[in-house]
Every structure is written in C-alpha cells, then in structure tokens.
C-alpha cells in the first residue's frame, strides 16, 4: 500500500473515531433515557487515569537507566506542571515546557 493511500485511510479512521466518541451520548441518551450509573462513574474516573497513561506513553522510549536518565523529559514535565499550577494558563504551560525541552535537548543534553 502506498504511503498516500495509507495516510488517507488512517486519517479517515481517526476522523470517524473522533466523531464517534462525540456522538455516543447523543445516540444513546438523546431519547431521554437514564444514563447508567456505571457510565457516569467511568466518565468521572477514567479521564484522569487515561491521561496519566498517555503521559507515560509519551515518554515510553526514553531511556531512564543510562545516558541522561530522562533528565530533560522529567524536568520539562515538572516545569509544565509547576507553570500550570501557578498560572493556570494553558498557553504559558505548554509554551514554556516545550521551549524549555527544546533548549535542553538541543543545547544541554546533546
């Protein structure tokens, strides 16, 4: 399969799956049916657990046992979290963390 065809199919899948997740509550509960308790419960607790998993997913290929032991990733993640706890401004947190990380891997831990 060519890269172009692969990409078109993968993008279409991502688009459909994204739409599907947004459609679920309207499809299921649009007719004023009660939301089952287990769904409400998972809706509350799952996002935090999934996001924690995704952060680990982002750093999965970092080698914590040798080299710089993931120092750039750990310090940039901490800076992002501290900035966000302090200012609660998504722009500052993501911008600050990303620029700091780029600086670290391009200039410090090279």
């Amino acid at each position: 399969m060519s890269v172009t065809i692969y990409s078109i199919i993968a993008i279409a899948i991502a688009a459909l799956c994204t739409f599907a997740t947004r459609l679920v509550p309207f499809a299921l509960f649009g007719g004023k049916k009660e939301v089952p308790q287990i769904v409400n419960y998972l809706g509350k607790v799952l996002p935090a657990a999934i996001i924690a998993t995704l952060i680990i997913y982002c750093v999965r290929s970092v080698d914590f046992t040798s080299g710089y032991h993931g120092a750039a990733e750990i310090s940039a993640i901490l800076l992002t979290a501290v900035l966000h706890l302090w200012k609660s401004n998504t722009l500052i947190s993501i911008g600050g963390g990303t620029i700091f990380y780029m600086f670290l891997i391009q200039c410090v831990f090279v």
Binding site: A15, F26, L46, T53, L54, R60, S93, I94
Partner: protein
C-alpha cells in the same frame, strides 16, 4: 448567519483564538515533521478536528501504525468526549440543521466555551452556539495550516517540538488532579502502565494497560466512591 451572534461569539472565544493558534501551530508542525504538508494538514484539521487526537495521529502516521491501533487509540484518547455531550443533549437541538455539526465540533475548548456561555437576553442561543462552534473550528484550521507552513518555510531546528503533546497531557492531567478528589484512578493508570511496560514492552503496553485500568477502576468502584463521599461529608461538617 447573524452578525450580532458572530460578534458576541468572537468576543467570547478570544482565549480559544490564541490557544488554538498556538496549539494548532504545534500540531501542524508535528504533522509537517511527520511528512505531511499544509494541504494534508488543512484536511486533517477540517475532518479530524481534535487537539490531542491530531498530535497522537502525527506520531502514529510517522511510524505507519496499523489501522486497528489508530482506531483504538483515537477512541480511547477521545473517550472523555463521550461525557461532554451529556450536558448538551437538549441545547444542541436549538442549532436546527447544524445539530450534527455541533456534535462533530464538540472539542475540549468548545465544550468549556459552551459551558460558560449562559443564555443571552438579546441574541438567540441557537445562533450563538453555532457561531462559537464555527469560529473555534476556523481558528483551529488556521493555526494548524500556519504551523505546517512555518515548518516548511523556517529552517529553525524544531527538534523537541513534539514535547508539546506531552505538555498538553500534563496540563490536562493537572486540571484533572485538581478537580477530582480521589487520586486512586491516577495511581491505577500509572501502576497498570508500568506493569504492562514490564510485561508487554514499551511499544505494546498501551492497550493492555488501558483495559487493565478500566477493569481495576470498575473493581475499585465501591472504594473510590466511598472515599469521595466520606471526604465530601467531612467538608460539609467543616
């Protein structure tokens, strides 16, 4: 579309404008680095229209991940969106013909905008929610295309810009951490991930880990909800 509704929505969505121009550029840049120029990026941001979803897509496209992985990861990453709609089942009906579009365009930012927009006395709510959804989508497309063009035109060293995705998740994480009283779900997610990395390896851990997390959260339900109500009770007493 009504001018006053657009004006109202524009003033309201200014924070999203800046947020999306920035986040969109980061996303467009990531897609460009993964080998997709601004034309691709335009269509991706029109049809996929998800911040973290598109960043994840960039990393999946870069390694030509299997379709099943693309589908399952996108579904899981966006599973939080399943709960956004619950608040708007009635309100979206005011959008008339654009009802399906309102569902399609319900991103994190549009959700929070709509939550914070109370009924206006002067402008029709149906028109306002349509204008908010459309404007946010436009900001996102402009941001993403700008990012891809930036990557193409500037010969700046963008190594490490992919950290924007990690930073976005850290930001969402901090907000979740503050809003939910029990931190057991977070620990469950971390423990299951580490266990699954040890068992399945770093490249295959995410699916078993998420399944294990859902299972353990269902098993711990009584414990987590009990802990929450107990703390809430203490708060009320104080």
């Amino acid at each position: 579309m009504d001018k006053s509704a657009i004006k109202y929505a524009f003033n309201k969505t200014l924070p999203v404008l800046f947020g999306y121009l920035f986040l969109g550029s980061a996303c467009g840049l990531l897609l460009y680095e993964a080998g997709y120029n601004f034309i691709w990026v335009f269509f991706i941001s029109v049809f996929v229209y998800a911040g973290s979803g598109q960043m994840l897509l960039a990393s999946l496209l870069a390694v030509q991940a299997p379709f099943a992985t693309v589908a399952i990861l996108t579904l899981l990453l966006n599973s939080r969106h399943m709960f956004y709609g619950l608040s708007f089942i009635e309100r979206f009906k005011k959008a008339g013909k654009m009802y399906p579009y309102m569902i399609f365009s319900l991103t994190d930012e549009t959700y929070s905008m709509l939550c914070s927009t109370t009924l206006s006395k002067t402008v029709d709510d149906g028109k306002i929610i349509k204008a908010i959804a459309l404007l946010d989508h436009c900001y996102w497309i402009v941001g993403c295309v700008a990012g891809a063009l930036l990557g193409q035109l500037l010969s700046f060293n963008f190594a490490g810009v992919d950290f924007a995705m990690t930073a976005l998740f850290v930001v969402i994480f901090v907000e979740q951490w503050k809003s939910f009283k029990s931190h057991i779900p977070v620990y469950a997610g971390i423990i299951c991930s580490v266990l699954c990395i040890l068992v399945f390896g770093a490249d295959n851990f995410i699916l078993p880990s998420l399944i294990l997390t859902v299972g353990s959260l269902i098993a711990l339900r009584g414990f987590i909800e009990h802990g929450n109500t107990k703390r809430e009770a203490v708060k009320v007493c104080q």
